[in-house]
Symmetry: C2
Subunit: 352 residues, 2 copies
């Protein structure tokens, strides 16, 4: 077992006190002469000294640790990360990890599990800040606020007073997607999402969709506005219901397009439609939301609303670190731009 080299060893080697070594490391300029600095740096190099973050963390009250809180799915007793089901979180997490690394922070992850106290989780390791992915249940959020550490909310409650938030103008995005479909001749458009009332993000997209229809003098049909879980399975179930509606509707009245508030929902819906022998996009066009890498895999490729997920993760970590390091005065509420990415899941409607 190689003995770990500590600041004490470096100090002894150079013939100075540990305080001086510490000062060199932390760039306290006014405390150490250039010559001594060089000698210490040389010794650090030679001995392969690496400061211990645990000790530093204890002394400074700063851990250089970013907590990433991931939503979970319950499958029986096991509560596993949604990360495994929705590539969305993987892309986001990758962006966060990248930026955190660049700025000298490490990323520690956990699922948001009902039985677990997030406050305790964060506190026991003195985390410097946390990022919430996905919908953040109020109780968890409040628990964290009591800690008074920087928090970034992603696609959650926009404009939580004392947290940063990153998202998009979901109203506009929903409107955009709907208008995109209408511009191609669609008039009967369904809306598929997770809970509309439980997720502000979905609500906004829904309202945007409604607004677009209204401006075009159209109205949405209640039985084409569906809610289920934000998952492949949820999308599949909603797709089956849309297929039923499609089958029983008369010519010229049937649904010809779907706007899904998440790509993964669109994947499931498309699967269901195809199984019911409804052609996508010839019979029903589909627009998703997220622009996951996976959109390319499908046939047809999924036309969707891009939200630059990876970049969003980078941004989130950046803001969090900025705040931690005191570079931010006020809370930031960022609305990222979105854009439609055209693939092959949309075409003009044809007569039934």
């Amino acid at each position: 077992m190689k003995p770990k080299v500590s600041a004490k060893d470096v100090a002894r080697h150079v013939g100075v006190s540990v305080a001086t070594v510490s000062n060199v490391i932390n760039n306290v300029n006014k405390k150490v002469s250039e010559e001594t600095r060089q000698r210490v740096l040389k010794a650090i190099e030679e001995l392969h000294y690496q400061p211990d973050f645990t000790a530093r963390s204890l002394a400074k009250g700063k851990s250089n640790l970013l907590g990433v809180l991931l939503p979970i799915t319950q499958a029986g007793d096991d509560e596993s990360l949604l990360l495994k089901d929705n590539p969305f979180y993987a892309e986001l997490l990758s962006g966060i990890e990248f930026e955190a690394g660049q700025r000298g922070y490490d990323v520690i992850i956990t699922g948001i599990r009902p039985e677990q106290s997030l406050k305790d989780w964060v506190r026991k390791r003195n985390m410097d800040g946390v990022i919430f992915l996905g919908i953040t249940p109020e109780p968890f959020l409040n628990e964290l606020k009591a800690l008074h550490i920087p928090v970034v909310l992603m696609d959650s409650h926009p404009k939580q007073g004392d947290c940063h938030s990153i998202g998009h103008d979901d109203f506009l995005a929903g409107k955009l997607a709907c208008q995109y479909l209408m511009a191609r001749g669609h008039q009967v458009i369904g809306f598929l999402s997770g809970g509309i009332q439980t997720s502000p993000v979905n609500l906004k997209r829904y309202e945007g969709y409604q607004e677009a229809l209204k401006e075009a003098g159209l109205t949405s049909r209640p039985n084409l506005v569906l809610e289920d879980s934000v998952s492949f399975e949820g999308g599949y179930r909603m797709g089956l219901r849309i297929a039923q509606e499609y089958e029983k509707s008369r010519k010229g009245e049937s649904v010809t397009a779907l706007f899904c508030a998440a790509d993964i929902v669109a994947f499931g819906a498309i699967k269901a439609l195809r199984e019911k022998r409804i052609k996508v996009p010839e019979e029903i066009s589909v627009v998703g939301f997220d622009n996951l890498k996976t959109c390319d895999y499908l046939i047809p490729g999924l036309t969707t609303v891009d939200q630059g997920i990876y970049h969003k993760g980078v941004l989130a970590a950046g803001i969090l670190v900025d705040d931690i390091e005191g570079k931010l005065e006020a809370c930031r509420h960022i609305q990222l731009p979105v854009r439609i990415v055209e693939r092959d899941s949309v075409c003009p409607p044809r007569e039934k």
Copy 2:
């Protein structure tokens, strides 16, 4: 700012020393009377005391931190986690996180970046153990071995002397997949993978594939054995090459099936084939490897070799923690069973 309650506060509140509080927390039975124990526990409850892991970590030399080392992709200067491109890693990570959490450990992630010293990364936080995902470059591995902490290798060099490893019998798995295709009448079968020589896992699958052919009295065709990156794009490129081969071959001689050593490669390949108007599975059947959730999304659903990714992650974390806690005498080398999951990407060959 709420003042953090420490063991000292608890001690004062109960009227004992901090040592006693510590003994209660750590269940040092022989040191504290049942009555005192109860009083301390009560105080802990009342004051909402939460031991500080940073301090504990420093004192014990044990951090309860598991490092997960993720492979990266280089795109220009940015080296982002492969996690964002291949759902495989997300499933694995989810499994790891779950089991780690159950056993009282936290998970900290990083990419394996050439310029970064993994040894330093692990050492500076006193991590208790690490899990390597994907191919592990030797230099990185050796660097870590010098630390003498438990290491689990996933799908990497099988049987690295002093590390645990988890994988499958890839030879058998490759053979199985190939036999599955042959049992359905295929005789000309391609093999698509990442580097065969650079990845022992791919090599084994390749050898299994060869063996199966040989046993059936068939031989593989060199121009149907392709290598590229393990990615959607790599699969796409290989798919295009297969399409070319298909077009120029004569009836009865053309490739009728592909065995892809990773699902994500299969996704890309199918996309390419479809774009070239080659029907899957009618003209070319495809078998993948991994059984990602995403296999369900595609149309046709991908028939593949299941390796229970999530469970593999759970197992990895379990072994790592077992070792950390001294419950393991020797290195474990686990070969998980695999099985074919049938979906819709395979059918008997038809005359061209």
